[in-house]
Amino acid sequence: MRAHRTLMLSLIATIALAAPASAVARPLIIGGSTSVLPLAQKLATAYHRAFPKIPSPKVGGGQSDVGISGAASGRFDIGDSSRDPIRGVDPTGLVFTKIARDGVCVITNPQNPLSNLSAENVEGIFTGRIRDWSQVPGARVSGPIDLFDRDGASGTQDAFQHIFLGETLKISPSATAETSNGLEQNAISSDKQAIGFVSFAYTSGVNAVGYQGIPCTLRNAKSGQYGGVRNFWMVTKGVPKGEAAKFLAWVTKPGNQTVRSIVNSQWIAIH
């Protein structure tokens, strides 16, 4: 009997303690692309500052495919994707809202401060035709090229493929595939013969290589001179509803200076 009473009391106490938490609105859960991650985090913080009564959205990483499948399965209220929708592959009934544009940079180790690669060189290196730094004009290291790719679920991989290699060429299958922008950045910053590609926000500590004579800088990406630019999307199951709709409306509101200044710090604002 005593045990029962203790059990009941602790149950009641648990429920009583849990009740206030559930009375407040649940925070939005956002996740997916690691390219979108830093932007989504900054937006979530600023959103909470603008509307202190709304809890700050919880933002996590993954990959673009994780964001898209997570939005479809309900794991995320909003999924992040750094690749465009693919008809026939993505689950049906998803709505993609474009939030910004982003530069994709080819990167090398700081000990190999390559300033520029021609389109032909990029194709040669990433398809595996050029395998040694001695064949690359401007390279400061010698020896075999350590090629780094991203995994198939990555939006950055999809964007790199379409922008830099076109529809027919494929990245050499002998490349090492990393599962996030951060791991790609880490792999290249610790290997002086490495080359790979990341979202612009992950270029600190590595050397961003220019493409076709245009340096990979934010300014060149914004002006449209730098070609390696792709879209950032937030994905919802159906038309955004409730808290997700409120957040997305704030992010995409034309002329919202808070959002514009955050996006323009490392990305390209479009609203």
Partner: protein, 334 residues
């Protein structure tokens, strides 16, 4: 019993309480079984399309795993094949290599360490070492992975792999710090503590009279250890091997961090270079690819990999039970 004084009649009798507890516990136990059953069924159902599309060739070599996964991600089948086309041999071979190398290295090191702990270590040293071994056994694998990816792999790439070695296989595979050797060595360190703990326990439960008997016959200490202690503890050491193999086989996060990214069937004929070739074991492949579940084919293939891991784990569990049987003869329980 149900009789007893009237003032106790209000309370439920001990027999009823017992039965109630029994039923509750029974229901909990059954629900665990049901959960396991449901899990196995889910994995089997989801994995079936991959196995049925590829047949037994699923386990064989053929083509490149990355290319096959890319095709599934894009939803465009490889020419002349179905979308589910998959050949897992590089992954299976990678799993076998990493597991066998790690278990063999750990077996040698753990047996020597256990002998030291039980036969030679002074009591104060033993008092310090035993908790340390237990602590090491509890370190989460992601910590080993982090050390591997941030410290060991870059060091191996920088210092152990020469450019000429990279060049020698440049047209087959690219070498860097994420390779068979790094993965196997870190895995060895990971499974070592549990093997040391089990072996030491078995060695210390060898009856002292047996060793004393051996000594009384004039056999020296090393020979006694070799012929009496180790021989008696052999089934326990075999059990430790099984347990360590299970841990090595199922290890995914650490291996995905230090060996993932390049499923390649490392070739022992390449000599020393073989050790620096990349591998991607089955568990690591699940970690590497699970993001692509949007397309059915990727999910089916990943579930098929999971099914293979589950079946191997079941086999190992059975093997673990089987090798412990001889121990019962000596009345040593592990």
């Amino acid at each position: 019993m149900a009789t007893g004084a009237p003032n106790q009649a209000r309370r439920s009798s001990p027999a009823v309480t017992d039965r109630r507890a029994e039923l509750t516990l029974g229901a909990l136990a059954v629900s665990v079984l049901v959960l396991v059953g449901l899990m196995l069924a889910t994995v089997a159902i989801k994995a079936w399309p991959s196995f049925s599309a590829n047949g037994l060739a699923w386990f064989g070599p053929g083509g490149d795993v990355v290319t096959q996964f890319r095709a599934m991600h894009a939803g465009v089948p490889l020419p002349g094949h179905s979308l589910l086309y998959f050949r897992a041999w590089p992954l299976i071979w990678g799993t076998l290599l990493v597991t066998v190398i790690a278990v063999v290295l750990a077996l040698i090191a753990s047996t020597l360490a256990a002998i030291f702990l039980t036969e030679f270590a002074p009591a104060p040293v033993r008092r310090v070492l035993e908790p340390v071994v237990r602590l090491l056994a509890g370190v989460p694998s992601v910590v080993y992975g982090l050390i591997g990816i941030l410290a060991i792999a870059p060091w191996v790439n920088e210092n152990l792999i020469s450019n000429s070695r990279k060049q020698s296989v440049a047209y087959v595979v690219q070498l860097n710090g994420d390779n068979l050797m790094t993965a196997a060595l870190i895995l060895t360190v990971m499974i070592l503590p549990i093997m040391v703990a089990l072996s030491a326990q078995a060695l210390s439960s060898v009856p002292a009279s047996w060793r004393e008997g051996s000594a009384a016959l004039g056999v020296n200490r090393w020979r006694t250890i070799w012929r009496v202690s180790l021989r008696t503890a052999r089934p326990a050491i075999a059990a430790a091997i099984v347990l360590a193999t299970a841990r090595a086989l199922g290890e995914a996060i650490m291996l995905a961090m230090v060996s993932g990214g390049r499923p390649f069937a490392a070739n022992p004929l390449d000599g020393i270079t073989f050790l620096f070739e990349p591998v991607q074991p089955l568990g690591a492949t699940i970690v590497q690819e699970f993001g692509g579940q949007t397309t059915g084919a990727v999910a089916n293939t990943i579930y098929a990999i999971a099914a293979v891991l589950l079946v191997s784990a079941a086999f190992l569990s059975f093997a673990g039970w089987a090798v412990k049987q001889p121990l019962k003869r000596y009345g040593i329980g592990v």
